[in-house]
């Protein structure tokens, strides 16, 4: 991703973006069980401000489960997740406030327009300057011409882009993205790269589940297929 293509992307003026504080998000000795079956164990990771962590591994190796653990939606069977040395389970609401999760389900209401769908999540999450942020988000993923269309008429890729718009509609330091490129065309995929690069430049973190080799630049990789004591990344 070049600097010129970043600048060419409207709606991402540096002064409009929050700059996040330095932080580190870690997991140590994590184990996860689904339906009584152990999905992974002994998993550790580090993500620092401005970094991206890419999760790779075969289907069913627990990548999406790890994202839900990271979001605080479920609890690990073993181990702990910490944000700046504070366990995220101690203050779940504070942790929720600093993250965005883009999962497989897009949480789009077909009866509402594109703008209403996005506006609801922006209002629900709060944060300053919601109308301007919504307009910026729609522009960043090239949805502004569809803004007043009911979401039931969107194609699969357009629904994905609308989901990704939530990332920009309210500020959050930690982005958890589950296969964000699925269904995206090349232009939208490049927009996502640009948005991610800008997020990281502002001190944001991203944890991304990917299947292709199309990793963001300078990303750490957590491989779920390594044998032995479990997957881990180096400390910051």
């Amino acid at each position: 991703m070049t600097v010129s293509s970043l600048a060419a992307l409207p709606g991402l003026q540096p002064e409009a973006r929050a700059v996040f504080a330095d932080a580190v998000f870690t997991g140590a000795g994590l184990a996860c069980e689904r339906g009584g079956r152990r999905v992974f164990h002994g998993l550790s990771f580090h993500v620092c401000a401005g970094e991206a962590l890419v999760l790779v591994g075969r289907n069913g190796s627990g990548k999406s489960s790890l994202l839900r653990l990271m979001a605080g939606l479920s609890r690990p069977a073993q181990g702990a997740l910490t944000w700046n040395d504070g366990d995220i389970a101690d203050d779940r609401e504070a942790h929720h406030g600093r993250l965005h999760l883009i999962g497989h389900q897009d949480a789009i209401k077909p009866a509402l327009t594109v703008r209403e769908n996005l506006g609801f999540w922006a209002r629900y999450r709060g944060g300053p300057g919601a109308p301007a942020r919504i307009a910026d988000a729609l522009r960043a993923f090239a949805l502004e011409r569809l803004a007043d269309l009911p979401a039931r008429y969107l194609s699969q890729g357009q629904r994905r882009r609308l989901s990704l718009c939530r990332l920009l509609a309210s500020p959050a330091q930690l982005w958890l993205l589950d296969e964000p490129r699925s269904g995206l065309d090349r232009a939208a995929s490049e927009s996502l790269d640009a948005v991610l690069a800008r997020h990281r430049a502002a001190g944001g973190m991203a944890v991304v589940v990917l299947h292709g080799d199309d990793h963001p630049p300078a990303a750490r990789v957590l491989d779920f297929d390594v044998s032995g004591t479990g997957a881990r990344t180096d400390p910051c």
Binding site: A71, S74, F120, Y124
Partner: protein, 222 residues
């Protein structure tokens, strides 16, 4: 947190208005169920007047139950519930907001339709006030108790039947005092004690139901 609750109520009411037919279903069911009785038991005004209160309340209760299954189901299936849980509001507040929206979109039309149906069932006009007041105090309890049931059956197959088995027995106290209030006004007795009981039931439900529904939602999410 209040802004988040307001956002949920606003969205759910707007969704109900957009899905016009779905929302009308409960009130159409209510009207049809009540209109069937004059055909079933005969058009004699005395007979109808005697059973009117019970018929109206049972029909209202079943109509409220009809729409309960979808209360959390749609948000659960499309992933919205995950994102709601990741907001600033605790799950109990989310449950309370969705239950409030359910009451606004389901029970308020029922209350509006009730006097017209009371006319068809030959309820004496003097009892209309008691009927409407009892419904205003009783239907929020129905939505609150039903909300706990809807959260508990989330993600299970045949959730609708399970929900009815779970919730209908808990509706009995509301039914008893709701019918008694109308009955008392028909024979000229004091209505107030029954209304106070309905208000007391509502207060208990207001305190306990959002908390219980929130805990059930947490179970469904994990």
């Amino acid at each position: 947190m209040l802004a988040a609750i307001g956002a949920i109520i606003g969205r759910d009411v707007r969704l109900a208005l957009r899905h016009g037919l779905d929302s009308l279903l409960a009130v159409v069911f209510f009207i049809l169920a009540c209109v069937l009785f004059p055909f079933g038991v005969g058009p004699a005004p005395e007979t109808l007047a005697r059973i009117a209160a019970g018929v109206l309340w049972v029909a209202a209760l079943l109509a409220a139950l009809l729409s309960l299954e979808r209360l959390f189901q749609a948000d659960y299936e499309d992933g919205s519930l995950d994102l709601l849980a990741l907001g600033r509001a605790p799950l109990a507040a989310i449950a309370a907001a969705k239950i409030a929206a359910h009451w606004l979109t389901t029970a308020v039309p029922l209350i509006a339709a009730a006097p017209v149906l009371a006319l068809i069932l030959h309820l004496p006009p003097a009892a209309f006030g008691a009927l409407v007041l009892a419904l205003v105090l009783g239907t929020p309890s129905l939505s609150l108790i039903g909300g706990v049931g809807a959260a508990l059956v989330l993600g299970s197959r045949r959730g609708g039947v399970l929900l009815a088995l779970l919730v209908l027995p808990l509706y009995i106290p509301v039914l008893i005092f709701g019918v008694a209030a109308v009955g008392a006004s028909q024979i000229g007795l004091a209505v107030q004690p029954h209304l106070f009981m309905l208000a007391a039931l509502l207060l208990v439900a207001l305190v306990l139901a959002p908390w219980a529904a929130g805990a059930a939602l947490r179970q469904a999410l994990e």
